[in-house]
């Protein structure tokens, strides 16, 4: 399958590219791993110093953290670099080249900006999930694992749709400052159990901007607390995805390049 081959080749090239600068690569891996190890410890400290989150014990919160880190790491590997490179390319006219290759433009932008920087987070997230499940002595069934993975995929589609909408906005307005940062900050609300928020925000995060997909829903599935209402989030993602595709296609029609 061409798109898969292209994905593999792009990742290889990105890895080769980062390895061209040996010291930078090593320092990058060390700093990122250190930084992401701190995050759960900070949460532990906050939890231990405060009353924690009502209704949730320490290991459950750790599970949420692990799931969030897992999903976020994949999100960052695919979409973080696109934020700044796309804006730069649109401003300079270098975006033109993305339209010259016989492959889906979004795929080209995403795969060629793939970053290994958060690969350590991925393993960290998996490690925390396994640790917290063992500590809670949760029995994880195959069905739950399949459902869990299915909702991880839906969560990634959600991230992809947000990225596509964000990229479309960047192409239309050329310079959008800290839009990427805004989206990331918004997503951070998904790190915690949704019921810690008031009913208004809770409804928004369940049914309008389904941030519950980023940690709450997958965690609840692993804790054997699957609900039919979770499928509403999947439906919302489907609607957002359709909108994102049309928005993107319309954006390309309106693309004006830069002069010269």
């Amino acid at each position: 399958m061409k798109i898969l081959d292209f994905f593999v080749e792009s990742i290889k090239l990105r890895i080769q590219e980062q390895m061209m600068y040996k010291l930078n690569f090593i320092i990058m891996m060390i700093t990122l791993l250190s930084f992401n190890l701190i995050l759960p410890f900070v949460t532990i400290l906050i939890y231990m110093k405060s009353n924690g989150f009502p209704g949730w014990d320490f290991n459950q919160i750790l599970l949420f953290q692990g799931v969030f880190i897992l999903i976020n790491s994949i999100d960052l590997m695919f979409f973080q670099r696109v934020d700044w490179s796309l804006s730069h390319d649109v401003r300079s006219g270098a975006f033109d080249r993305y339209l010259l290759y016989p492959v889906n433009t979004l795929a080209y932008i995403t795969f060629t900006n793939f970053g290994l920087e958060h690969i350590a987070d991925l393993f960290l997230g998996i490690g925390i999930i396994i640790y917290s499940l063992i500590k809670m002595q949760v029995t994880v069934t195959l069905a739950n694992v399949m459902l869990f993975l299915g909702f991880i995929v839906i969560a990634l589609f959600f991230s992809l749709s947000l990225a596509v909408i964000k990229n479309s906005i960047i192409i239309r307005v050329v310079r959008i400052g800290r839009l990427g940062e805004f989206v990331r900050t918004l997503k951070n609300f998904g790190e915690y159990p949704v019921n810690i928020y008031n009913s208004f925000l809770s409804s928004i995060f369940r049914y309008i901007i389904p941030l519950t997909l980023l940690a709450y829903i997958p965690s609840m599935i692993l804790l054997n607390n699957m609900s039919e209402k979770f499928y509403i989030a999947a439906l919302v993602v489907f609607i957002i995805s359709i909108f994102a595709i049309f928005f993107w296609k319309n954006t390309l029609k309106r693309y004006n390049s830069a002069g010269g």
Binding site: F6, E9, E17, L99, V103, N256, S257
Partner: protein, 330 residues
């Protein structure tokens, strides 16, 4: 069925851009935040032209004339406002992925190679993207690298290469998948004379060996003279000339220049007839500009040879810069 000999067919192509005006200064910027004055720029105003398969066509025009906009529409980067475009039997912006598989594009001012890696790595990625079979890829790579003598260059990181070397690698990258047509947008810009000559020779050889059509935009008129039999000239969004380069020279410049060197001093040329102008003179030489509408060059030459002590005489063809300048002014 008669095979269409045209690879590009453009009919009444129009492209408008919406942009906004802003005066200089901070106050004007603040005003612009609240209310903007939008203007419509008519980049292309109903252009019509065809390009035959296997040609190397020159496409020239002053800055802002619409050359790059035309190339971007032909390569599928931009949509048209109205009009028809067919390249290789495709409408560029429909079926984009299938269409671009049969074209190559090189921008003189924009890079497509991965900067931190050797060009060979980008070539390999393109092999995947364009689904080039292994044997075809190896054969083409060997052919192009040998033609340009880049055996060592393609193994070095692109960012360490000179401008000329980068451009050669960009050209190879655009040709590995054996496109039917290649759009070259100022490929020799900023290059030294040796690199320019190598690139011109390369384009000629590839056109001859593989029959690939080239549409070349350039400000370097030596590119045109060396490569193109036919040219298009665009000005203010309209095609102002479409035809042979030689016809352009004949049509636009009705004068010829004659340079004469004398064996002895000549102080007085006598009465110079109407239609002949003395451009410059000394006692040892003279430059004449002859209106071909009023005088036959042969008769003028015969008159000079019979009546003056000639050491050397030369009839100069019109300079292409002069030709183009006059077309731009139309």
């Amino acid at each position: 069925m008669v095979k269409n000999t045209n690879i590009i067919e453009v009919k009444n192509l129009v492209k408008h851009f919406e942009t906004f005006k802003k005066e200089e200064g901070l106050f004007s910027s603040l005003k612009s935040l609240v209310k903007r004055e939008y203007v419509t720029v008519k980049a292309l105003d109903g252009i019509i032209f065809n390009v035959k398969r296997g040609e190397i066509r020159g496409f020239i025009g002053p800055n802002g004339a619409g050359k790059s906009t035309t190339i971007k529409i032909l390569s599928g980067i931009l949509y048209n406002t109205s009009g028809e475009v067919k390249v290789n039997n495709y409408r560029p912006w429909h079926d984009r992925e299938k269409y671009v598989k049969r074209i190559g594009v090189v921008f003189g001012q924009k890079q497509q190679l991965w900067l931190d890696l050797p060009a060979l790595d980008t070539f390999h990625l393109n092999k995947t993207l364009y689904e080039i079979p292994d044997k075809v890829y190896e054969k083409n790579l060997r052919y192009f690298v040998k033609l340009f003598e880049l055996e060592e260059i393609v193994r070095r990181p692109v960012r360490q290469l000179s401008l000329g070397e980068k451009m050669k690698c960009e050209l190879i990258s655009s040709l590995l998948h054996e496109p039917d047509i290649v759009f070259l947008d100022e490929p020799t810009i900023g290059l030294d004379i040796f690199s320019k000559e190598k690139i011109r020779a390369f384009i000629k050889q590839v056109n001859k060996d593989k029959g690939i059509t080239f549409l070349l935009t350039t400000h370097d008129l030596d590119d045109i003279e060396n490569l193109c039999e036919n040219i298009l000239i665009i000005n203010k969004g309209k095609i102002v000339f479409d035809g042979k380069l030689s016809k352009l020279k004949d049509e636009v410049l009705k004068t010829k220049t004659i340079d004469v060197k004398f064996k002895e001093k000549v102080k007085d040329y006598g009465i110079v007839p109407d239609g002949i102008k003395i451009v410059s003179q000394t006692e040892w030489d003279v430059r004449l500009e002859v209106d071909r509408g009023k005088h036959e060059i042969e008769r003028v030459l015969n008159h000079i040879i019979q009546n003056y002590p000639i050491k050397d005489i030369n009839v100069a063809n019109p300079e292409i810069e002069e030709v183009i300048k006059r077309i731009y002014q139309k």
